[in-house]
């Protein structure tokens, strides 16, 4: 009985610990990104509220929570309300399969990777439904772009990971990390890693692949009509998926929590943090390609490369026996 209770308590702690930490880190990330962007753009960034401007996060949250809960009268209200919650829910759910350290992690599914892919595929409904329900032309264009972009980039997102699965012989993320004890998959799967990163940027609609939002073209794209906490959910969803993609790259290619001297959780956090910085740096540096260029790049460059990676990895494995 006691061990049973302890197990349940441990599991609950794990679940709430992971999800709360994810959401809190996301909030922190909104501040971190602005400070980093400021640093790269020769300006201070938010530095007024609290130490180092850290309380900016709280200020923003207060603002978002207390804004009028506004639904345009031309919007399809139930769908309009539902849309932002989907992205939050699916992204948070995807976190459950991530093994943060030998002891931390919500669940070890033997189809963990497939579960992540399924959740990230579902997230697109959030954007498409939100865009559709807004009854706004910019949102509609953003929604169209999002649908096409996500569907295209998902194809090779999945394919790019199959090399890792072959090497590890498992879809279970914990097994994949354990399989990297003799060397990170980054080296044999360099191509796969690059492709997954690009797809990840596209999935989380980050510059340079933020075409569904494309502020300078579509004002705010799919979330043009959203404000207050409903906008906040989209916003948090985007940052959550940055964290998620970074955590997954860490798990799949950078050996997860593995590393000498430091505790495993610290290794995991460090690697993920570096990747998050990379995301932000890309945003600071690159302009945005055109929609058709993005699609052509996906289908004509990334997809063949992902297939090539798959074929080569498979051939090498068979040749080695």
């Amino acid at each position: 009985m006691n061990t049973g209770h302890a197990d349940i308590a441990m599991t609950l702690l794990n679940i709430f610990g992971v999800l709360t930490t994810a959401v809190l880190l996301t909030a922190l990330l909104t501040w971190g990104e602005r400070r980093l962007l400021g640093f790269w753009q020769d300006r201070p960034g938010p530095n007024r509220v609290g130490p180092f401007g850290l309380m900016q996060v709280v200020a923003d949250m207060i603002k978002l929570f207390f804004k009028e809960d506004f639904i345009p009268r031309f919007a399809d209200a139930p769908v309009f309300l539902l849309a932002p919650t989907i992205v939050m829910a699916t992204t948070l759910l995807a976190f459950v399969v991530v093994p943060f350290s030998p002891a931390v992690g919500v669940i070890d599914m033997h189809i963990g990777l497939l579960f992540f892919l399924a959740m990230s595929a579902l997230a697109v409904y959030s954007v498409v439904l939100g865009a559709y329900a807004s009854g706004n032309k910019y949102a509609l264009l953003g929604g169209l772009r999002a649908a096409a972009q996500t569907v295209s980039y998902e194809v090779f997102m999945g394919l790019s990971l199959m090399g890792v699965v072959m090497l590890a012989g498992s879809f279970d993320l914990r097994s994949i990390v354990m399989a990297q004890e003799n060397g990170w998959f980054l080296l044999p799967q360099m191509l796969g890693c690059a492709i997954f990163l690009v797809a990840g940027i596209a999935e989380s609609h980050r510059l340079p692949l933020d075409l569904p939002e494309a502020e300078h073209e579509l004002t705010a794209g799919f979330h043009t009509e959203y404000s207050g906490m409903k906008f906040g959910l989209f916003f948090v969803g985007e940052y959550l998926s940055i964290l998620l993609i970074s955590a997954l790259v860490t798990t799949l290619f950078l050996g997860g929590w593995l590393g000498p001297w430091l505790p495993p959780l610290v290794w995991f956090a460090l690697k993920t943090f570096a990747l998050v910085c990379l995301f932000i740096l890309l945003r600071a540096a690159l302009p945005r390609p055109r929609y058709d260029q993005l699609m052509a790049f996906g289908w004509k460059v990334m997809l063949p490369l992902a297939l090539l990676n798959l074929v080569v990895t498979g051939s090498v494995l068979i040749w080695r026996g």
């Binding site: 962007l37 004002t219 929609y291």
Partner: protein, 604 residues
């Protein structure tokens, strides 16, 4: 009157030969063809001014555009004058033809380096002219503007509706009998009903523009881009006809930034109007003062001291850099590149530091004066200027790698929004937009003003005619501007910063305490402002965005009788539909970004 030829005095300059040569060509042709009869207005020192009858208009302009050797390829400006209150219109042989409203056409020949002015008198009872849109497509907006502001009808115009004022406006604001200030009429109120009517008037109806709502394959989406949109650089609206994301057609809509700058000129003293000019192209600062004071100085016969001229050039080139830096940053920003704009605005801050040290102002110093400058250069200006021109080239080099050599930027801008030189001339495109088509024509070189003939610089030109080359031209121009500023720094002449001429405003104070004549002159110039001799004058300059000029008509008063502001951005925007058809919305943003306009410069 028309058909009687008068002798006109042109200023003694290299440009005089061009005017004389043109008049000879015209006289030769008109001897054999009676439909080319004209009357040369003798008192316009700036450019040949021909009066013709309305029946001759089309034939005359057609000959100037197609018939004459070295033709006038560009319709530089088209405007009108309400002559009903004019007092001074020449006497005896210099008397201008009777006219209630005069429509004025300015043409430009790039082979003759010559501007000419063609005027058509109209009587109040029959305000009607044939439209010249078949000759120059650029006339479209100009004629709409004249209709809007003067109520002159153009027969055969494809879409003669208001362009500056709201569609619901009553009256024609630039007529002399239209009120100039809100206090001259009943207080304004906006009732719900009126608001409804006004908003309804803004609705875009595709049918009005001959657009179909659907094709055989698909139904079109009509998208209102603006007037509030992050990428339209102010309040500018484009109604787009979209098939998916492909632009089928576009209708630019302007007038949201119209402040009636031309009307204001009719009640501001010559001197006190100066600050208004700064706010026309609000990124151009004192560059806007220049065409205004140059025109007034030519009208009044003021010779500006060399030092004042050189300081003017230096500041104008500073503002050219300031304006191009904003262009460069927002260009990258509109393509989705986040960071460059911050770096470029920081450079601009440094530049404004120099401007502030010299003039005391930053964006709008209003520092030029009729006959010179507000003050002399401050002590130590050389260090500030030198520090900046030593600092900027390395930064520009960095931006080159960041923006122009970026593969995505190239992919987004190469071959987008292309037009060739011929199209540019048809549509009245000047400045960097023209030089990006391969025509290395720069007014500073071809018809130097304010002493530009003393400087060594190149005219950058590229022949792609696309968004990318329009950006490249501006980047190169910044390097050339730095070269000019360096020459100003090295060879700044000594001497006065203000002319001794009595119409110099404010007049020099030195001798006012010694004799009553100069004291009175000083007092009057400071209280009423100067009284400019009657006449008219227009001096175009190569401003930041293209050719800019103030056509000033003085009736011998303390204010302008008419002040027509020709801005480069106005015709540039008119060309947008030509540039974006069959491209996507993203391309339209890349095109808009590459035009470099500010709405104040369009609407005035």
């Amino acid at each position: 009157m028309i058909g009687v030829r008068a002798k006109s005095r042109f200023p003694a300059s290299a440009y005089r030969d061009a005017a004389v040569a043109f008049m000879q060509d015209l006289a030769r042709e008109s001897d054999t063809r009676p439909e080319l009869a004209y009357w040369l207005q003798p008192d316009t020192p700036d450019m040949p001014t021909l009066w013709i009858g309305e029946a001759q208009l089309l034939e005359f302009l057609r000959w100037l555009k197609h018939g004459i050797n070295r033709p006038f390829a560009m319709l530089y400006d088209l405007s009108a004058i309400d002559e009903r209150m004019r007092l001074v219109r020449g006497e005896r042989e210099a008397a201008q033809p009777a006219s209630d409203f005069t429509v004025v056409y300015h043409l430009l020949s790039f082979e003759r380096d010559l501007f000419i002015r063609v005027k058509v008198p109209l009587s109040e009872s029959d305000l009607r002219l044939p439209s010249i849109t078949p000759l120059w497509p650029a006339a479209n907006w100009y004629e709409r503007e004249v209709w809007d502001l003067f109520g002159i009808d153009f027969a055969g115009h494809p879409h003669l509706t208001r362009i500056m004022m709201p569609q619901t406006w009553q009256g024609h604001p630039l007529r002399k009998d239209h009120h100039a200030r809100a206090t001259e009429v009943d207080p304004f109120s906006l009732s719900p009903h009126k608001q409804q009517v006004e908003q309804e008037a803004l609705r875009f109806r595709p049918e009005d523009w001959g657009m179909a709502r659907a094709s055989e394959e698909s139904e079109f989406l009509f998208l209102n881009l603006g007037p509030n949109h992050p990428s339209v650089h102010g309040v500018f609206r484009v109604a787009l006809q979209l098939d998916g994301e492909r632009i089928v057609d576009a209708v630019p809509d302007i007038g949201y930034h119209h402040r009636g700058a031309e009307k204001m000129a009719e009640r501001q003293a010559w001197h006190s109007y100066l600050p208004y000019t700064d706010r026309i192209d609000y990124l151009g600062g004192v560059m806007n003062n220049l065409p205004y004071v140059l025109a007034l100085e030519q009208l009044a016969g003021i010779d500006v001291p060399e030092r004042a001229q050189t300081v003017r050039i230096m500041l104008c080139e500073f503002f050219r850099i300031a304006s191009h830096l904003v262009f460069y940053g927002t260009f990258a920003q509109d393509l989705g590149q986040m960071s460059p704009v911050f770096y470029m605005f920081e450079d601009r801050e440094k530049l404004f530091g120099v401007i502030e040290a010299i003039t005391g102002g930053r964006m709008h110093p209003s520092w030029f004066r009729i006959g010179g400058l507000a003050q002399d250069l401050p002590n130590g200006w050389e260090q500030r200027v030198r520090a900046f021109i030593d600092y900027l080239p390395a930064r520009l080099q960095e931006y080159e790698g960041m923006v122009l050599r970026n593969a995505i930027v190239r992919k987004r801008c190469r071959g987008i929004g292309v037009y060739d030189t011929a199209a540019a001339l048809e549509w009245g495109v000047t400045g960097p937009g023209l030089r990006a088509t391969g025509l290395a024509w720069d007014l500073r070189k071809r018809r130097p003003y304010s002493g530009y003939e003393n400087f060594e610089f190149d005219i950058p030109a590229f022949d792609g005619g696309d968004s990318y080359d329009r950006c490249r031209v501006r980047v190169e121009e910044m390097h050339q501007s730095l070269r000019i500023i360096r020459q100003c720094l090295q060879h700044m002449p000594a001497g006065d910063y203000k002319s001794d001429h009595p119409l110099t405003t404010p007049p020099r104070k030195a001798r006012t305490m010694e004799d009553i004549e100069t004291l009175i002159q000083h007092f009057l110039n400071n209280s009423w402002g100067p009284v400019m001799p009657a006449g008219e004058c227009c001096v175009p300059v190569e401003a930041t965005k293209g050719l800019n000029s103030y056509q000033i008509i003085s009736d011998g008063n303390t204010t302008a009788y008419r002040n027509r502001i020709r801005t480069p951005s106005f015709p540039h925007l008119q060309m947008i539909p030509q540039m974006c058809r069959d491209l996507s919305v993203s391309d339209l943003i890349a095109i808009i970004a590459s035009i470099d306009f500010v709405m104040a410069d369009v609407d005035r």
